[in-house]
């Protein structure tokens, strides 16, 4: 961008360039800080069972909802269920609220929440994918990895 040719305009131009640089810098640092504080890492059930996931930070976890593992409270909307990587690892997720329409046993879900000391994920949000044909990529990868490991170890599922 070019502004002006006269002297006062040149001063103006300098001011504007300075302003642009300053505000761009501010915006970028603001964005990066906000980004660092607000990314939620995904952990597979196996990582959580092994204690690799941090406590007291918001994380995401997911897998297939284990059949017959959904337990509801009889007094309020508390619900808990197990998610599995379909290999050895299962994680309990506890949630208070309304589950999404596509939540079903045997389907993939992702929950966002905080791990407590008993390795239970206290979820503030539970998501199920709208398209039934494919699973969320995180879960796909988890299942694929647990499969690969099972093969390597020679254990069958």
């Amino acid at each position: 961008m070019k502004f002006g040719k006269m002297k006062p305009q040149r001063r103006n131009r300098l001011m504007i360039v300075g302003l642009v640089v300053l505000s761009a810098g501010a915006a970028v640092s603001l964005a990066l800080t906000a980004l660092n504080e607000n990314i939620n890492l995904f952990y597979s059930p196996e990582q959580i069972v092994r204690g690799e996931a941090p406590r007291n930070t918001l994380i995401r976890a997911g897998g297939m909802v284990v059949e017959n593992s959904v337990k509801r409270s009889t007094t309020d909307l508390q619900v808990s269920f197990l998610v599995s990587d379909m290999a050895a690892s299962e994680v309990m997720i506890s949630y208070v609220g309304i589950l999404p329409d596509l939540f079903r046993e045997g389907q993939g879900v992702i929950a966002r929440g905080v791990l407590n000391d008993q390795n239970v994920l206290i979820a503030e949000e539970v998501l199920a994918k709208h398209d039934e044909t494919y699973m969320p990529p995180e879960i796909m990868q988890t299942l694929a990895e647990s499969k690969a490991k099972a093969e390597k170890n020679g254990t069958s599922l």
């Binding site: 961008m1 070019k2 502004f3 002006g4 040719k5 006269m6 006062p8 305009q9 103006n12 001011m15 504007i16 642009v20 505000s23 761009a24 915006a27 603001l30 964005a31 800080t33 906000a34 980004l35 504080e37 607000n38 990314i39 939620n40 890492l41 995904f42 995401r60 509801r72 009889t74 007094t75 309020d76 909307l77 208070v96 609220g97 309304i98 589950l99 329409d101 596509l102 966002r112 994918k129 709208h130 398209d131 044909t133 494919y134 969320p136 990529p137 995180e138 990868q141």
Partner: protein, 657 residues
Amino acid sequence: MIAELGHFSLILALGLGVCLAVLPSIGVYRRHEGLMRLAGSLSAGLFVFLLISFSCLAYAFWDDDFSVAYVARNSNSALPLQFKLSAIWGAHEGSFLLWTLIMGGWTFAVSVFSGGLSVDMRARVLAIMGALSIGFMLFILLTSNPFDRILPVFPADGADLNPLLQDFGLIVHPPMLYMGYVGFAVPFAFAIATLTTGRLDAAWARWSRPWTNVAWAFLTVGITLGSWWAYYELGWGGWWFWDAVENASFMPWLIGTALIHSLAATEKRGVFKSWTVLLAIFAFSFSLLGAFLVRSGVLTSVHAFAVDPERGMFILAFLVLVIGGSLTLYAIKVSGIKSEAGFDWTARETMILANNLLLVTAAGAVLLGTLYPLIYEALTDGKKISVGPPYFNAVFVPLMLLLFAIMAVSPASRWKKTPRETLRRQFPALIGSLIVVASLVLAFATEVSVAVILIDTLALWIVANLVRDLWSKVANKVAKLPALFQQTMSYYGMLLGHLGIAVTIAGVCTTVYYTEEKDLRMAAGDVAELAGYEFRLNAMRQIKGPNYVADQGEVEVFQEGRSVVKLYPEKRFYAVSKNVMTEADIDPTLFRDLFVALGEPVGDDAWAVRIHYKPFVRWIWFGGLLIALGGFCTVLDRRYRAVKRSRQAAVTLGVAA
């Protein structure tokens, strides 16, 4: 037969598109006026054959022709007629055909309403639009043909339309959105055409402005409808999720908003010429990027179409060709162009510049947040993250607050230099707004929030200064009332647009801070209290719709013992697609919505029930519609109709690249 006819028409349209891209270009190159003039009729032909093609697909849906794979996947004989027709754009293939049809429509419109353009310029613009439509049509024919048959054995009935999409919102939301996305192809084509002439004057800004405003207004309507649809149809009571697909429509809107302001400066004052061209390229690029994000499956989202690598590769290649090509052309051709006019820091130009910086930064921040999961995954060898709404809010809100402050003082500003006195006069209203908003909040709100007072004060300040500005235009007239109606349509458009923003700000801020919601376990007879209302679940019953069965609750709402309304939220089960859908019921009024949705049965005849009290939530969409109305208004401005043909013709005639 009809599907084949549709397919064949599309191929013919492709042929015409190739002619449109090539013949007028040869005409321009060899200064052959006959070839240049072909652009008009070729555009018409392109549009007509696309329309035939689209109508054929519509017919296949209307006729329940399940031998057409696309129809079989997205329709069902039990589907009500209006949804059969809107199912045309319910999935990838058909929606892209609609996108292409709209591209044809815009091309045709440009050819019709381009009387003021020189033959040469018109040929260039239409040829570029033709070239773009070639890309879109090839994409359909090669990767996403909606006319493919399942033969010889085809299903007796279709798999049904996704129930989320069986709704009025879906009938209108995508066409509006696409009108906006594709509409940005027009200023893009003008910008590129101007670049190819090598003469980057202010004329192209004058030509592009009405087109840009209309496209932008359509996009505004589309986004507003999308937000409204998400609110009542997804059943969570949210109206914006910073979902990747929402972002994909929001980024072009932000850039488009910057563009319509920057075009004004370029047209009126000849400043920011190269920047405006860049914005025009960006606006359309972001539209294409949006298409890529939604259709390639590169990002997961509730809205995303099914994953198909072939399609993703095609769009990516198209992106590289179109955006890379235009940015290269830009770099080559813009070198050495200087703006002549200088301006004071108080000038309207400065404010528009600030507006542009803030909006582009905001779009950049949204882009960063949307793509960050991809970047992170690549950098950390496959670690998956998501970027949540807190990021977007943290970055977006401060930028917008700055923008709103500038917005409040800008209507009174003048080109070149604003008298200090005029600027100073804008601030008393700020104090007044603060007093009014603070007392309103103290009087009515359950709790006092500084953020609400601050933001709503900004909104009221914007409105107050708009009123003052309008008044200043009539104050010294003898006949004040008629003068009120004698301003230019552009001016009314600006008033409406800015008023709409203020209304939306007030709605967003008040809703965010004062919404009350509860998720409850309720059985028939249970009563829940929320925000001074009592919600009583009277009964649950089963009902049957045309293609679903549903559990329906009757929730009666009382205020101070008086019955206010009965709401009927439903949990629908669509038999064919085996989908469960939450159908919320809402009691809307101007100042508050009562929202009730059913969760799932939780045993002992009890249901999970979600109730919301959402003050001012309507204002969000009402404001959005005002903004769009403002955009449409500007087109009616007399200046755009009385185009001085001869002079403009002289500007560009005979200038070949």
